[in-house]
């Protein structure tokens, strides 16, 4: 077990694009174990990406099963070479990051995504994710491409009325 050092802004290495994993060997397994240990210490993060610890391979760990309010999720996932193949809808949500201490900001993300990713044995799987888990995955894949949520923060004024939420409020009003 090893706790790895988290790169924090303004470390330029966070902008580096990570390379695809080609060998699903013991070294990969050992690294992922360390990455998971690192995610578990400190503030509870729902995800972590390999480049956040200076390891520039396309590996992400995601676990949205322990959120304050339960959200639809696939449990604990180790995603190797994840690739988003479909985006649908958009939502505004607030994000923070292990690599960006003491700052949160609003980011627009796709509300529903499909992705393909390999597991630690190299087998491919397809996932459909929505809402919070979809947001978390997009946040992590951004890390693999050298992007932080800071690169996508929208103006506080550029708020958007989410159609779904807005209709719910509107209907409630009419019934009352």
């Amino acid at each position: 077990m090893a706790i790895l050092e988290i790169l924090k802004i303004p470390d330029a290495r966070l902008k580096q694009i990570s390379e695809p994993v080609e060998r699903f060997d013991d070294a990969l397994h050992a690294f992922v174990a360390d990455l998971e240990d690192t995610r578990q210490v400190g503030p509870a993060a729902v995800g972590i990406a390999a480049p956040q610890v200076g390891h520039f391979q396309r590996v992400v760990i995601l676990d949205c099963s322990q959120t304050h309010k339960p959200v639809p999720n696939h449990g604990h996932l180790i995603l190797v070479n994840p690739e988003i193949i479909h985006w649908d809808g958009f939502e505004l949500g607030r994000e923070g990051c292990l690599s960006v201490p003491d700052y949160t900001g609003n980011v627009i993300r796709a509300a529903r995504i499909k992705l393909v990713a390999q597991d630690l044995q190299g087998h491919s799987h397809e996932y459909e994710m929505i809402d919070y888990e979809a947001r978390a995955l997009q946040h992590e894949v951004d890390h693999l491409d050298g992007l932080l949520f800071l690169d996508r923060v929208v103006s506080r004024r550029a708020d958007l009325f989410q159609r779904k939420v807005y209709q719910k409020g509107g209907n409630k009003k009419k019934k009352a």
């Binding site: 993060a45 304050h68 949500g93 607030r94 994000e95 919070y132 992590e140 009003k173």
Partner: protein, 170 residues
């Protein structure tokens, strides 16, 4: 401590207000903390945490005179890194009428809701103005409970939607 002051400046909007003002502070060895700056109704308004030694009114006087800005300085007890994450967002939209903000925030205050951020704007047309407001804040009560509190206002033609914010931390 850093000797923080809160500086408020307002004046008719024109290019260069931020650049000139912050340069005057910088040239006099003063540093900025958290700030909020925005154009409101043709005026530009700035609120800035400023730290450092010196008479801020004197430092800003030349720029204020040149750009016709009004300056106000308060000594504050504030510090950096005191962020509180909001867990509730409230969107208000409706035909503009007096009292929307007072009534909505009144109902929220009774529920113990603490506003961290409020922005409002008047959209629509001069004939049919629409008031739009977004509030982010902290509440120990659930979004559903706050929704009931604002629904009980029974405001005609005003939609108030309370939703929980789950900040993604990854």
């Amino acid at each position: 401590m850093n000797n923080w002051k809160m500086v408020t400046l307002i004046g008719e909007d024109q290019p260069g207000i931020v650049a000139r003002t912050t340069d005057a502070l910088y040239q006099n060895g003063l540093a900025l903390g958290e700030t909020s700056m925005m154009r409101l109704g043709g005026n530009f308004s700035m609120m800035m945490m400023v730290s450092g030694e010196g008479d801020l009114n004197a430092v800003l006087a030349p720029v204020a005179e040149e750009l016709n800005l009004r300056v106000h300085v308060d000594v504050i007890a504030g510090r950096l890194h005191q962020h509180v994450a909001p867990n509730i967002q409230i969107r208000v939209m409706g035909a503009d009428q007096p009292g929307i903000v007072a009534k909505v925030t009144g109902a929220l205050a009774v529920s113990g809701f603490n506003i961290l951020e409020l922005e409002s704007d008047v959209a629509g047309t001069a004939q049919d103005p629409v008031y739009i407001m977004t509030i982010q804040g902290v509440s120990e009560k659930a979004a559903e409970e706050l929704q009931q509190a604002v629904d009980a206002l029974g405001e005609e033609g005003v939609d108030v939607t309370v939703s929980a914010i789950e900040t993604l931390f990854a």
